[in-house]
Subunit: 534 residues, 2 copies
């Protein structure tokens, strides 16, 4: 995605490197030992229709620049643009493009395929939105095939129009249908890029983790992936949208648009559709109290519903999983919501006062439990310890174990980064490390620490992709998690395995749900609104 | 702008690095010896009003992420997104932000200030649009202070509403007024960032070169800059818009909007204004045959008119200049307009047939003159030799000399790059070299060649910023240009000084004007329309 300091020419000649796909030839790049193919079309679709295979073409198509990304309902400057640098790009509804990094273009190489599904909830983001998503280092480090992809989002990916006719039957899950189409393309074509179609790991963070979770319960995806990674993608209690809710939103959007013939919705400009969708969803949320938004809808046919709320699907119980979150997530001092300056310089009495203000009656229990869970941590970090995601990911692993699924390994990313003289890991912080990009990202890099940690983490992800088990010689022994062992790998300057280490702390911290709301909602320093970032 | 492989922590602490400006303190970054300040607000302005100084603030503002960029009238995927990688960003009319790279934050350092003014005509682009614009390497290489900036463009920067009241008097030149405000901010504040306010070099490419040219004839800018660089920013014959033309466009836009109270134009959404402006300008161009567009308007008060068409201003005759273009500019084989494959592999008879098709009766003269001008060049490169910009920049230097101005040095960038087994330098290609970023840009980098050439070119730009003369020990002796000596520095794998080398060739090639139009107009591989790229 981004320029790196080159020591060799990048080759992109008319006849090299070229790979033949089922639809035709694509010509990419060869850079420092890694082949790159950008903007390869994996499907095509008209608005509100299911994705179709790409029309075959004559000759060779260029795959040297990224394809358009899905229109976002709203794109302000993110509050976390510094520590999570974003790459914005041209938006277009025809966004069915994927990118490939590989060390081989021979079909007998059969390397593991690691498919990255981006975050941004089901509403925003893209395969190239975050600099951390660049797959070059991961591919080179692990000799794996990395694929990232765009798909339909928000009101063109998840607007339920099923009440308006058979041709709209699956509209509530089109964004997921695109993911399935991409996995089908990978199955059919990835061998030509050195990948093993029988060893595909899907992985995603935030909304991307939610999408991985959805694919575990999407019958058309069964058999197209073999391992799964969820990073900060689950919330406590889970969530399931039913057709009566999504159809109500669909009807509200249609009413807001004021159209008389439903066919008009296929051609009105995107921005008009998006405005109507935003207005209708806000009003419906306000009047009904329902949580109305964009995401998969449980229709018991295309999508079978959340694994947090139901028994896991029999057909995907055999999928090994790697499931974790980060210490701070959204609990940050963005825009000095707690105080000015560095948290590590705040006087002790100020810290204690803040903790008492935030945690109220629970403050003493939180402070005591934090000391037990993290004996070397600073007291102030109580303020920046996320509860919701940590509990959700831990409990997800335990539920997998309890239902006899393939192993699920639980982890927590804890590395404090140097920004502001010390910042607890934010939502997205681990991506720099599992993509082996920490020393390209200003806010993440710590000389003498990052090198080892990214080897450990990228190594675990790669080992998992190869074998279904993240253990490797650079890590302490890591058992899969269950309720009895409470095992969790703490990725930190000193990576360590802990057992039940934060059970008391998680009990002590009052749940805050998704923790986006109210006074702590972050905005950028330029006044842009908050992104819908999960 | 983009992540580079780090070998040290990037420091951005609440108290370091901090610089005090007239309006308040800003806190930036310290990275590998270079200080970075991103998104520093230099002015503020309501729509259609002149820029005003920034309101002072208390405390310290963050300057660690880029500020919003000006809304573009249209942003497709550029046809040259591969060889000229673009960085897109959040657009907002409040776009008065600049970025600083420096080696010092002591006010006695007094290093030369190099101000980069972006291209994209007067309609699109931003200070961070192209990866090549990143100022880190240039600042570190030359120990100079690099500044880049955003300003108002298109229908909010150059829509002439002067007929609608005194408060709109300067609306036709607001984009330039923003540039003046930025130069004023630099004058007032740059010492705190290690810069010398009495040694400011303005430089720009394409539209940015046009903006530099405009500033030479803008009285409010006089004294705020001391040296000037124009890169591929002039076209043959020059161009001057007069108030009767720009007011006609203003009236057409107002009519298209259908507003009754002119005040409404200050608050209608940008996208509505932009659509009306696009429609009105297209219609006015079609009906009147006028070249209608966005750019400075000669009102003989704010802007005194083109130096291509009038005697140079007395007040800026003392400005030394560095003026040049590149061999190919827009004459490329984008989308295989000539033929498939690499130009260097086309059979000789095919090449000659193409040359005869393109140049008609002039073909023999072109081929003979090309052999004389570039004895080592391939015949096929006749197809990729730009005439309009080369002549314009050469003649501009000669005119400066003829009118007794300070010296103007003429150059031509000729390096063939490896893309497609050989590509003649494209519009923007030299930026990678004068910013010392060639080995960060895939299409530009040639091991063993780029290192020396970027030292030579960046060295020339830096020497010019220090002394007003681009000569340095790494270059052949380089006299300033005039009609008699025909001196031109050819930046190439073997950089050389030539005299009158291509006079015959420039005579032989039939002029094509700006060469954007007709069948050769390039589009991206994803069908996005062509960018307004000058």
């Amino acid at each position: 995605m981004y320029p790196r300091k080159l020591t060799r020419s990048v080759i992109s000649n008319p006849d090299y490197p070229v790979v033949e796909t089922r639809a035709g030839k694509v010509r990419g790049l060869w850079e420092e030992g890694t082949f790159l193919f950008r903007g390869v079309q994996y499907a095509q679709a008209k608005r509100f229709q299911m994705p179709q295979p790409v029309e075959p073409w004559e000759g060779t198509r260029e795959a040297i620049i990224y394809g358009p990304v899905c229109p976002e309902i709203h794109t302000p400057i993110a509050h976390d643009q510094y520590n999570v640098p974003h790459y914005h790009y041209i938006q277009d509804e025809e966004c069915h493009y994927l990118n490939i990094w590989t060390q081989h273009i021979e079909s007998d190489a059969k390397r593991p395929v690691m498919v990255w599904i981006h975050g941004g909830g089901f509403a925003t983001g893209s395969s190239i939105e975050l600099y951390a998503y660049d797959g070059h280092e991961l591919s080179a480090f692990g000799d794996v095939v990395v694929v990232s992809l765009n798909h339909r989002l928000n009101c063109i990916g998840y607007l339920d129009l099923s009440a308006y006719g058979e041709e709209y039957k699956y509209t509530a899950n089109l964004g997921t249908a695109d993911l399935v189409a991409a996995l089908q393309w990978i199955h059919d074509n990835i061998a030509g890029f050195g990948g093993d179609p029988d060893n595909v790991t899907i992985m995603g963070q935030s909304g991307g983790g939610g999408k991985v979770h959805a694919l575990l319960h999407t019958p058309s995806a069964f058999g197209l992936f073999h391992k799964a990674v969820i990073q900060s993608g689950l919330s406590t209690g889970g969530r399931e949208t039913r057709p009566e809710q999504s159809q109500a939103l669909g009807a509200a959007v249609v009413a807001e648009l004021g159209i008389t013939d439903i066919k008009e919705i296929e051609t009105i400009p995107y921005y008009k559709l998006a405005r109507a969708a935003q207005k209708a969803s806000a009003e419906l949320s306000a009047t009904t109290g329902m949580r109305v938004g964009w995401g998969p809808v449980r229709d018991d046919e295309f999508y079978l519903g959340s694994g947090m709320l139901n028994p896991f699907c029999e057909q995907t119980k055999n999928i090994p999983m790697l499931v974790g979150s980060v210490l701070g997530e959204f609990d940050q001092n963005y825009n000095n919501v707690y105080a000015e300056g560095s948290k590590n310089d705040w006087p002790e009495e100020q810290v204690e006062a803040l903790i008492r203000k935030i945690y109220g009656d629970a403050a003493d229990a939180v402070m005591a439990a934090q000391k037990k869970a993290y004996p070397k941590a600073k007291l102030v970090d109580c303020l920046f310890t996320n509860q919701g995601m940590r509990v959700a990911h831990r409990d997800f692993c335990n539920k997998r174990a309890a239902e006899g699924c393939a192993p699920a390994w639980n982890w927590l990313f804890n590395l404090e980064c140097p920004l502001n003289s010390g910042t607890i890991p934010w939502h997205n912080a681990e991506e720099a490390y599992m993509f082996h990009n920490a020393n390209y990202l200003e806010a993440s890099y710590i000389p003498g620490v990052s090198e080892q940690l990214q080897d450990q983490m990228t190594g675990a992800w790669v080992a998992f992709a190869y074998t279904g088990d993240p253990n490797h010689p650079g890590l302490p022994v890591w058992p899969a998690a269950n309720a009895e062992n409470g095992a969790c790998m703490i990725f930190d300057a000193e990576t360590r395995l802990e057992c039940h280490h934060d059970d008391e702390l998680m009990e002590a911290i009052p749940p805050k749900g998704m923790n986006f709301g109210g006074a702590r909602r972050p905005t950028s320093t330029f006044g842009g609104g908050p992104r819908q970032s999960i």
